[in-house]
């Protein structure tokens, strides 16, 4: 059996995905990026292989993506995370009846991608250099509120009062705004839902810029946050498609590309 790997080296986490000859997903693995990301990327990849008892030689092609894509020399090729995300979401979206719009929130950026019926990127937009509305923003907020990142979803639904308005779109200023709200005696629940709505508004604006078509696929780590998902659906006025593993869609896309590149190359050689 031959295997193909996609490895997505992001700002916060490294995600690896492995697929087999038929393009079926074998497994995924996620680890924090840390400071020595090259070593961590290699470890993540080897861990994934070990978990499934697969030899390194059985992996015929590796495609790297994400911010660290060019520095991961072990890969056979690299691709931008926008294209990889589109490929992964197109494939994973088939189970939901097909998707044409993708919203991704990552550690330090958020993107909206529109794909055509064949799964190719037709338009995309990305936030401009600033952590507002990204996973980093949630991270900072959770720390200010002294709650765990995983708890944000529960807090979102627990509030009795309306979500508060967080005006600052800048992560740094929002921090002081949150502290101010806490000082005024507002509940953490309302602050959390307020943060979710503030991110949702920004992200939906981005998605509208590229044009919303058909079903909307939402991925990236923050898609695990049920509260944020609810806020996004509210702002968007429609249901979102949330995959089972939203963090690894891009790595999955890179793995699919690895497989097709390998198959194309062996066909050329033959």
């Amino acid at each position: 059996m031959n295997y193909y790997a996609g490895i997505d080296i992001g700002s916060t986490a490294i995600k690896a995905a492995l697929i087999d000859d038929e393009g079926k997903i074998v497994g995924t693995h996620i680890a924090p990026t840390g400071s020595s990301f090259h070593k961590n990327a290699l470890d993540t990849f080897m861990n994934l292989l070990n978990q499934h008892g697969i030899e390194r030689q059985a992996v015929k092609f590796i495609t790297a993506t994400g911010y660290g894509r060019k520095l991961f020399k072990e890969a056979d090729d690299s691709i931008s995370e926008i294209t990889a995300n589109a490929i992964g979401a197109y494939e994973a979206g088939k189970a939901f009846g097909g998707v044409r719009t993708i919203i991704n929130i990552g550690g330090q950026d958020s993107k909206a991608i529109q794909i055509d019926v064949q799964g190719n990127v037709s338009n995309f937009a990305m936030n401009d250099k600033c952590a507002a509305g990204t996973g980093r923003f949630l991270d900072v907020a959770a720390r200010n509120l002294e709650i765990d990142l995983e708890e944000l979803g529960d807090y979102h639904f627990a509030g009795r009062n309306a979500p508060l308005t967080i005006n600052s779109t800048c992560a740094v200023f929002a921090e002081s705004e949150i502290i101010g709200l806490l000082a005024k005696g507002h509940g953490k629940q309302e602050i959390v839902s307020g943060i979710h709505y503030s991110i949702a508004r920004r992200t939906v604006r981005l998605a509208k810029r590229v044009g919303i078509e058909d079903r909307v696929y939402f991925d990236g780590g923050p898609a695990l946050n049920k509260g944020l998902v609810a806020a996004m659906q509210d702002e968007l006025g429609r249901e979102l498609v949330i995959p089972e593993h939203p963090q690894t869609t891009t790595a999955f896309g890179a793995a699919i590309l690895a497989r097709s590149l390998f198959l194309a190359e062996s066909k050329e050689e033959a």
Partner: protein
């Protein structure tokens, strides 16, 4: 610059910024044309070492392509374009402008404020500041406050109407008066004719270069083309023309030899929007290190500055000045004008002529007019099936990682589309 300043100039941040860009331009790309060495050396001497280019007569700074250079030459003075591309001066200039202002205006003000700036601004005898966008208009008073002599060259907000045309002609005539007072010289038909002929020789060389870039596969990278036109800002015009002619000859040879400066399938990009000015060539460099190639542009640091030529066959001096003024108003595709359908037309024409696969639109944060024209240009291009990448950025290098992802994704999507069309 005195001798002690010159001794330490190469250590300045501005010089190091310039050297880093020059290194990228030369070392990140194989097979640069030999004739480009003139330009690499020129920027190294002027920006890296602070060399002052000799000029004749009074030195007249201009802050925009609307200042008619032929008129300045005809009075025996030398024009130098002050529009600045340095991040270092952008930060100095930030003191003068609100936070979200255009990097180009801030950097220009910053370089005028700084001592030992490049190109040498200490000996400027006059600054001609066309009143284009709000930020450049307000910069006039700030430059005066720094002690410079400034002539506001009043530009109308529209260019189609007859009123606008007359208003502009009067502005240009007033500039002529100011130049006569400054230089003590008298304008004659002969002098103006001579100046026009010289500029048109430079423009002819540029046009040849422009035409050569139609070659597919490409024979010259856009990063070099931008450096060539950037040199026009301050270089001696005769020497510049000769250097471009030499480059053209080499490119012609390349064309005959079937040489390729990039991969055959490299997406062909048309560059538009806020102008790339050395050392801020980050977007063209990113496009070309990511496997694309900039084959044409519609910016005021290159094509818009040099493409349109003056064809004057008037008998009287006054009429000559008027038709010179027309050349600087009518064909201009700057987004400051109320209506600017010309820009759409020109982009579509360039896209066809240069077999363009996609358009990259740069808007400096705070450059509202380019930001505002984004939608109409995007629509016009979409109608033709031309993909466009809109990039809002400034002179700071900290969005490089993010930009490279966007540019690569854009180029990848162009390649996939082309593959499927086959």
């Amino acid at each position: 610059m005195n001798s002690s300043e010159a001794d330490t100039y190469y250590l300045s941040r501005q010089a190091r910024e310039a050297e880093a860009t020059l290194e990228q331009l030369q070392d990140d790309f194989p097979d640069n044309p030999q004739a480009m060495q003139y330009f690499y050396d020129l920027f190294h001497r002027v920006y890296g070492q602070g060399e002052i280019i000799k000029h004749s007569g009074k030195l007249v700074g201009t802050t925009c392509i609307h200042a008619p250079e032929e008129l300045i030459y005809a009075f025996g003075a030398t024009p130098v374009r002050l529009c600045n591309g340095s991040y270092h001066y952008d930060q100095i200039g930030a003191d003068f402008m609100p936070a979200k202002s255009c990097s180009l205006v801030k950097a220009t003000l910053g370089s005028l404020q700084a001592k030992a700036a490049v190109p040498n601004t200490q000996s400027l005898d006059l600054i001609v500041n066309p009143t284009t966008c709000d930020q450049k208009t307000k910069a006039s008073a700030m430059m005066s406050a720094m002690g410079y002599k400034v002539e506001d060259l009043e530009l109308p907000p529209a260019k189609e109407s007859e009123e606008a045309r007359l208003y502009w002609q009067r502005s240009v005539r007033r500039l002529a008066t100011r130049l006569r007072e400054l230089t003590g010289n008298k304008l004659t038909r002969k002098k103006l004719q001579h100046a026009m002929a010289r500029t048109s020789r430079a423009q002819t060389a540029f046009r040849t270069l422009h035409q050569l870039r139609k070659s597919a596969p490409t024979i010259l990278l856009g990063k070099d083309a931008f450096l060539v036109t950037n040199a026009y800002f301050f270089d001696d015009i005769e020497r510049w023309t000769a250097a471009v002619e030499q480059l053209n000859n080499e490119l012609l040879q390349r064309q005959q030899d079937g040489f390729q400066a990039a991969q055959k399938r490299a997406p062909r990009i048309l560059f538009t929007g806020s102008p790339p000015i050395f050392p801020n060539l980050k977007l063209p460099i990113l496009i070309e290190t990511s496997g694309g190639v900039v084959v044409a542009d519609e910016t005021c640091s290159a094509n818009r500055m040099l493409y349109d030529m003056t064809a004057v066959d008037e008998w009287r001096l006054n009429d000559m000045v008027d038709s010179l003024a027309d050349r600087y108003l009518k064909p201009c595709t700057c987004p400051i004008f109320t209506r600017n359908d010309d820009r759409q037309r020109r982009l579509l024409q360039l896209a066809t002529d240069f077999k363009v696969d996609g358009v990259v639109y740069q808007a400096f944060s705070g450059c509202q007019v380019y930001e505002m024209e984004y939608r109409s240009i995007a629509d016009a291009l979409a109608e033709r099936g031309l993909p466009m990448l809109y990039v809002e950025t400034d002179y700071s290098p900290d969005d490089m990682g993010q930009l490279s992802t966007r540019i690569e994704a854009f180029l990848e999507s162009i390649k996939t589309r082309k593959r499927q069309a086959l």
